[in-house]
């Protein structure tokens, strides 16, 4: 039996989502069509939009369905830059620990990108926010970090943006269904969501965005979703997303303390082995536990746990399957070694105490073996000669 502790990568499909999709797959019709079949599809799509809007505490008219969190982020970052270029605010600011969907979109802007520094917990500095340059049009700070689980100070971020006349976006892919997450109360201008992190299907997400938000259109075509996003909306996926979001938000009051208890058990057990540190500071998602294991390669820890039937993540991007040093850990100033020696465990709706206990049973031996496999001498491979 495998123990799945990688819900932040993708969480198993919830029954509510499966049922909603099974019903929707039977439908014929494009929601943009004007005939009876089209109207039925449109009706189901709007049901999903309303259900999702309720789950995230937004107006249905603010929900733009996308193919996932990455597309939602792209619509904002690229749309913000294109709008700003025409309106004297060409720059886009983002925290140093953003998901690649935001980070790389900002990098692609070249000199127009502004990096907001973080502290050693990976939390955005107040000072960085207080000094937003005047030509910044939009800023983006994620709600919950996808690697460390650190919760960002969204209230302070929005406040700073308001003062500077900057529009505020947050990638809340790891937040909805895991921490309390209200679009209206947050006063954000835009929020990115993904279905499969909370038990919905892969391939659908949403940008929740104020109706007057200044974004240029960067996705051209039929303009199906408020002209901001083109392409036929997959009704069944949207229905599955909304059902999963509604269920996970409804359960949150019960799940959050349950996850917090499991996470504490994880923290205690993992750090019972020396040289293991938990990252992310005091305020993290109850569903994410990110540790640095001194003297190991994260790759080796993953391989050994994999062989023991436990799924976890090295938490950062891969290039052709090669684990890269974590940009998030580097931005936290924890050093190159920690950036290649950190693993993430993440919990979800199916996680049980047995999963956590299986990990903890394997942990001491896994750490010892992984330490034996990382050269003790400074690995010539770890420092690039050129």
């Amino acid at each position: 039996m495998r123990h799945y502790l990688d819900h932040a990568a993708s969480s198993p499909l919830r029954d509510e989502a499966r049922e909603a999709m099974l019903a929707a797959w039977e439908l014929t019709g494009n929601p943009s069509s004007l005939h009876g079949s089209g109207r039925r599809a449109r009706s189901l799509l709007e049901d999903a939009r309303e259900q999702l809007a309720d789950a995230v505490d937004a107006h249905p008219g603010e929900v733009v369905f996308t193919s996932g969190g990455t597309e939602a982020d792209h619509l904002v970052i690229s749309g913000a830059a294109a709008w700003g270029a025409e309106h004297g605010r060409p720059r886009v600011a983002a925290s140093a620990v953003e998901h690649p969907a935001v980070a790389h979109a900002v990098q692609a802007l070249g000199g127009a990108g502004v990096r907001l520094p973080v502290d050693s917990d990976g939390v955005v500095h107040g000072e960085g926010l207080a000094q937003l340059p005047p030509d910044v049009g939009w800023a983006s700070v994620m709600w919950v970090n996808n690697e460390t689980g650190a919760i960002q100070p969204i209230d302070g971020f929005v406040e700073a943006c308001r003062r500077a006349g900057v529009r505020a976006h947050s990638d809340a892919v790891q937040a909805l269904g895991h921490v309390r997450c209200s679009f209206t109360a947050s006063r954000l201008d835009a929020l990115s969501l993904s279905a499969h992190k909370l038990g919905g299907p892969v391939g659908v997400g949403a940008l929740v965005v104020r109706r007057n938000a200044p974004l240029a259109v960067v996705s051209h075509g039929g303009g199906q979703e408020r002209r901001l996003r083109s392409g036929t909306v997959p009704v069944a996926l949207a229905a599955g997303f909304a059902a999963a979001a509604a269920a996970s938000v409804a359960e949150l009051a019960a799940q959050a303390p349950r996850w917090a208890g499991l996470r504490q058990r994880l923290v205690d057990g993992l750090t019972a082995v020396g040289g293991v540190r938990v990252n992310g500071g005091a305020h993290t998602s109850p569903a994410i536990c990110h540790v640095t294991v001194d003297g190991t390669r994260a790759d080796d820890v993953l391989l050994l746990l994999d062989a023991a039937g436990i799924d976890c993540s090295t938490g950062s991007a891969c290039t052709a399957g090669v684990h890269q040093p974590s940009e998030v850990v580097l931005a936290m100033g924890l050093g190159e070694e920690a950036a290649t020696a950190s693993v993430r465990f993440s919990l979800g709706h199916t996680t049980t105490a047995a999963d956590v206990d299986a990990l903890l049973a394997a942990w001491p031996d896994v750490v010892a073996r992984a330490r034996g496999a990382r050269p003790t001498q400074p690995d010539p491979g770890e420092t690039r000669a050129t």
Binding site: A320, G321, R369
Partner: protein, 357 residues
């Protein structure tokens, strides 16, 4: 056994992995990422460490139902193999990077990491036969003489060989392809790689010139008379005949060959084919594939390049080095090449050629 298979994405290591699975071993596949910029290296010909090869290896692992990972050894590879390759050419020698990779990466860094992680052995798709005799693992030539790769493994020590597996030892290449086909592996018809994996366009001279720059100098004959110019000694190897572009024809009208490369004076010496004849070879930094160093004087065979012929010789070895006297003169033996000694089909040891006369 728990076996780690180095899967290049080629047909040989794929079939090696398949055989280990069929034999009931607990098999894990690793693809070694050796190039720092894999996407930059691929053009017409095949490099052994490109993105597509990693993908091919992964698909084979999927078919076999084994865990698969990519291990990044690009920095180690750069430092231990590529840098050494360039430095050896700069010093006027002719290195073999595949041998170096086996010595420093596959059967060293990878093997050590695998053993530390709990694996009993590392397997590759090399064609060579390991015979276990008591505690000793004896390395022999493969059954397929045309594919035999014992030479590039000749630098391995007992400690490394004891933890190695070469499942293809007794098979000819055509059968390996047929076996891959029967297993439904898409790599069955993938072409063999022949080039140096980090020089995917096959232009070694161009690669070295990019690394070392142009260093123009003189080409001289055995009397010291200047007969041409060159753009850098690293563009030459002992025994080379092509690309000399000599301005002065030889008096005897016979083709001329590179006889010596002297990087200090930046001189390439050319002469007639007879000038390449060598019977005495000095090898340094000896390693032993057999358990006990074969010191003293003994009769054996010498091989100096990957697909070279075995040459009968008298070998005299001690801890400092190896002196080899060939029965018949050999031609085109360059400093830097590995001298691998055999006793029949058994690999005895290897050393690096320091000089030949």
């Amino acid at each position: 056994m728990k076996v780690l298979v180095a899967m290049s994405g080629g047909v040989d290591s794929s079939v090696a992995a398949a055989r280990l699975v069929a034999d009931g071993h607990e098999v894990t596949g690793v693809h070694l990422a050796l190039n720092r910029n894999p996407e930059l290296y691929r053009s017409g010909s095949r490099g052994c460490c490109s993105l597509e090869d990693s993908h091919d290896a992964r698909r084979v692992a999927d078919t076999l139902g084994i865990p698969f990972y990519v291990w990044d050894f690009s920095d180690r590879f750069h430092d231990d193999v590529v840098t050494n390759f360039v430095a050896e050419y700069a010093a006027g020698r002719t290195p073999n990077p595949c041998l170096r990779c086996n010595e420093k990466i596959k059967f060293a860094a990878v093997l050590e990491r695998g053993v530390a992680l709990g694996f009993d052995a590392v397997a590759t798709g090399h064609y060579a036969r390991l015979e276990r005799s008591g505690d000793e693992a004896l390395l022999h030539r493969a059954a397929d003489a045309a594919k035999d790769q014992s030479y590039v493994l000749g630098v391995l020590t007992q400690e490394q060989l004891r933890r190695s597996l070469f499942p293809l030892y007794g098979t000819v290449k055509a059968d390996v392809r047929a076996e891959a086909e029967a297993l439904g592996l898409r790599v069955a018809s993938k072409p063999d790689s022949h080039d140096i994996c980090f020089i995917s366009d096959g232009d070694t001279a161009g690669f070295l010139t990019r690394a070392l720059g142009e260093r123009p100098g003189a080409i001289v004959d055995t009397e010291g008379a200047v007969v041409g110019e060159h753009a850098g000694t690293h563009r030459f190897t002992v025994g080379q005949r092509r690309g000399l572009r000599l301005g002065v024809p030889a008096i005897d009208g016979q083709p001329r060959y590179v006889l010596a490369i002297e990087p200090v004076t930046n001189t390439v010496t050319v002469g007639p084919h007879a000038g390449l004849a060598v019977t005495e070879i000095a090898g340094i930094r000896p390693t032993w594939a057999v358990a006990d160093p074969r010191y003293g004087t003994w009769r054996g065979l010498l091989q100096v390049r990957a697909h070279g012929a075995p040459l009968p010789a008298t070998i005299e070895a001690d801890a400092a080095g190896v002196r080899i006297t060939l029965d018949e003169p050999a031609f085109g033996i360059a400093p830097g090449q590995a001298a691998v000694t055999y006793d029949g089909d058994l690999v005895v040891g290897a050393s690096t050629i320091a000089g030949a006369a």
